[in-house]
Each structure stands twice: as C-alpha cells, then as structure tokens.
C-alpha cells in the first residue's frame, strides 16, 4: 500500500488528518482508562506489605514513564525540525511539552501521595523523585523559552537546541543524582522494584500505560492543530476553513 507520507508533512493536510485521528485516539484512551482503573482499583489484589496505598502506582508508574518518553520524543521532533527545517515537526515538539510537563507533575504528585503512607513524609529526596523534579524543571524551561520568543521560527529552533542540550544532560543528571543519593542515605526505598508483581497488576499497569500513550497522542494532535491554525491564520486554506465553519 503506497501512502504518500510526505503529503501529511504539510500543515494543511496534517490538520485534516489529525482531525480524523483525534476522536479515535480519544475514545481508545477513554476505554483503556476505564478498564485500567477498574483493574487497578477493584481486580488487583491488595498488596500484603503496602496494603491499599500501593494502588497509586497504577497511575504513578505510567506517568513517570510517559514523562521520560515524551521528553525524548519531543527532543526528537525538535531535532528533526532543526535539521530539516520542517515546520510541522517543530510544532509537534511544542505541542508535546505541556503534556510531558503534566505527566511529570502527575508523577511527582502521586509520588508524594504514595510517600506519605510509605515513608511518613510527603517528599523524600529519593533519586527517582529528584530526577523527576529536575525533568519537570527542564520541561518548564523549554516552555518558558518558547513563550518568551515572539518569532515562531526562532522559538522552534531555540527550543530544539535547549531540548537537545537537555537530552545530553539527562543521563548525566540522572547518574549524578543517583550517586548523590547513595552517598547521602544508605537505605533508599525504590518506587518500582516491588518484589513480585502479580500478573494482574502487570496487566493493569500495561493497560494504564497504553491509555496514557493514547491520551498523549490525542492531546498532542489537538494542540498541534491549534498551533497550526494560529501560525497559518493568514494562509488561504485557513481562511477557507473559517468560511466553511461559519
């Protein structure tokens, strides 16, 4: 089947394609969230060590995964935009940032909620939590930089350079924090390494992860469409679109 992918690299055709895809991804995300949450809260057995509080990991872990994946994907699109001067890729990168920041915040929030019953404190300077916090700062920096630049092309490119610098630094930051953590506190509580995870728990977490992916894709498409409209508002196709809808 020969699909002309390049056709969709123009904002106009991407706009209509995204319009068709958004409902699909949204509905799939909704179904998966319902199923995943049902499994997480009603089907999965109570953990004998951590009692009911552990159930927050069904949200926490997928959110933490998403926060990291989305940063990489964002940097990837930004890099493509920088290297090949493709406007659409940069727009997608800009659209990813808020969703990524949201998941990072969610991971921090749920981490704190989990920390209170587990460790007796809302916040512990655990290596993962700390890295997640720094990741949050990186997202905020990316968005703040793009927001401060009026010229969209400069915003795209400057954001791309920052995202790439971030990608180079993330492993260094992560290992630094990890080492710092082992130096300063002997016994750390790991968030994800629960000894044996029942397969039903794993299924729940997997479904929740896929739901997060679907949700992210839908959100990014919606936001990209908005960015396209904003940036191309003076073009012919947008004004025609405007006439059709009014």
């Amino acid at each position: 089947m020969a699909i002309n992918w390049f056709k969709y690299s123009s904002p106009a055709s991407f706009y209509s394609l995204a319009g068709k895809l958004i409902p699909i991804f949204s509905i799939v995300a909704l179904i998966l969230f319902v199923v995943g949450l049902y499994i997480s809260f009603f089907v999965a057995p109570t953990d004998f060590q951590q009692s009911e509080a552990y159930r927050i990991i069904f949200i926490h872990v997928p959110a933490a995964w998403m926060s990291m994946f989305l940063y990489l994907i964002m940097a990837g699109w930004a890099a493509i935009g920088l290297a090949f001067n493709t406007r659409l890729s940069s727009m997608i990168a800009t659209a990813i940032a808020p969703t990524g920041a949201m998941f990072t915040f969610l991971a921090l929030w749920t981490g704190a909620l989990w920390g209170k019953p587990m460790w007796g404190a809302w916040w512990v300077w655990d290596a993962r939590l700390t890295s997640e916090l720094i990741l949050f700062f990186l997202y905020i920096g990316f968005m703040a930089l793009q927001a401060a630049i009026d010229d969209p092309r400069r915003a795209d490119k400057a954001g791309a350079v920052l995202a790439l610098v971030g990608v180079v630094n993330i492993p260094i930051i992560y290992f630094s924090v990890k080492w710092w953590n082992t130096l300063h506190q002997g016994a750390t509580v790991s968030l994800t390494e629960s000894p044996k995870m029942a397969s039903i728990m794993l299924t729940g977490m997997l479904i929740m992860s896929i739901a997060c992916w679907m949700y992210s894709i839908a959100m990014v498409l919606i936001r990209t469409r908005t960015i396209i409209l904003e940036r191309e508002r003076h073009t012919v196709w947008v004004s025609e679109l405007h006439k059709e809808t009014t």
Binding site: I134, F137, L138, I140, G141, A144, L145, A148, I149, R154, K157, A158, V161, L162, L164, V165, G166, V168, N169, I172, I173, S176, V177, W179, W180, L183
Partner: protein, 219 residues
C-alpha cells in the same frame, strides 16, 4: 584570534571593574547570610559549608551570564563576530573562558577565606578551591548556551536561570561532594576526576551548542 577575544573581554572587564566586584561581593554576601539564617552552631555550619559555597558560586556565575553576549549584541559587535572568518566555536569558547576568568577565578581565590567562616579544615579548604577551579569553567560553558538562547529576549535574566540551573546540578553534586568526602575522611579524587570529565565534555560540546544558539538568536 581566540586570544584576541579573551584579551578584549578582559580589557573590557578591567575598564568596568565594578561588574567584576559586584559578582564577587554577591558571592561573599550569599555565603555569609547562611549562618545568620540557620544559626551559629559550628558543627552544622561545617557540614553545610560545601553546599552553601557551591550554591552561592552557581548563583554568582549565573548572575553575570546575561552580560556575556548582550552588550556585544546591543552595540553590533556580535554581528561582526558572526561574520569573522574564524570559526564561531572558537570565538564562543574565548568568550566563555573570559567570562570564567572574570567571574569564576575570583570565586576560586576567595573561597578558602569563606571556608574559614565555616571552620573547614585545611585539606577541605584546598579541595574546595580545587573543585571550584574545575567546576566554575563548566558553569561558564553551560551558561553560555543559556545566555545565547535568551539573547535579546525580555526578561532574559530570569529566564536564563530557569534554563541553566537544572543543567548545573551535576557540577553542584560533585563539587560539593568532593569537599564533603574529604571532610568525612574519604578521598576526593573520584569526585574531582568526574568534575574534570564534565569540564572536558563541556569544552567539547557547549561551544558547539552555543554557536548554534547564537546563529538562531541573531537571525
């Protein structure tokens, strides 16, 4: 050529000595505020000292970042630098090194005296100075990227701190960690060699990213 840039920036700094001194006194004041905030208990101060000095160094270095390119940008010299037949990477490296000589070196020199305020032992004082010597150039090099990205933007000074401070974290961890390790009776060589590795890495990568950022900002 590379030397010309360094020489020029140092000359300018000499003509504008107050800028250099402001950064230095900012550093001294921030470090001196901590005992006033947490109390004069000497054991606690001793254990806090490396972190306090390092955080103050981070802030002091960051404070002067905005100036790195903006005055050249405003008077048109930066355009001339971009049009120089020399590789832009070299110019950027020269400017970052000049920034370090003006803001980093004074901090390195004054740090042992500040260490006395916190009752650090001689070996810890030495390692503090060495860790700053290795770490502050990294701050200037990474900071250059942020300064280049925010060139000419409104609120550039605050923005640059948001972009750059998270990237400073590894330097902070190993810089302060080196001093703590010595105070705890462990060797600091592992920390210092990692700081050295960061320095090499940023010497290679940061000028490249800064040059790219400058091209974007000036266009």
């Amino acid at each position: 050529m590379f030397l010309w840039v360094i020489q020029r920036d140092l000359l300018l700094a000499m003509r504008q000595r107050s800028d250099v001194l402001t950064t230095l006194f900012f550093f001294i004041i921030v470090v001196s505020l901590f005992p006033l905030g947490v109390g004069p208990e000497i054991n606690m101060l001793r254990s806090m000292a490396p972190g306090v000095v390092w955080v103050a160094a981070l802030l002091a270095s960051m404070l002067s970042l905005e100036r790195m390119f903006s005055s050249d940008y405003l008077d048109g010299t930066l355009e001339q630098m971009m049009l120089s037949p020399q590789p832009l990477i070299l110019l950027v490296l020269g400017k970052a090194l000049a920034h370090w000589m003006v803001t980093g070196v004074p901090l390195v020199l004054i740090s042992p005296i500040l260490g006395f305020q916190f009752d650090l032992q001689t070996d810890a004082l030495l390692v503090l100075a060495v860790s700053l010597l290795l770490g502050t150039p990294v701050l200037s090099l990474i900071g250059a990227i942020g300064a280049a990205l925010t060139l000419g933007l409104r609120g550039g000074g605050v923005l640059v701190s948001l972009l750059v401070l998270p990237l400073y974290i590894p330097v902070l961890i190993f810089g302060a960690g080196a001093v703590e390790a010595v105070s705890a009776g462990l060797g600091a060589s592992a920390h210092l060699s990692l700081l050295g590795a960061f320095l090499l890495l940023s010497l290679v990568l940061a000028p490249w990213a800064t040059a790219a950022a400058l091209r974007i900002s000036i266009e």
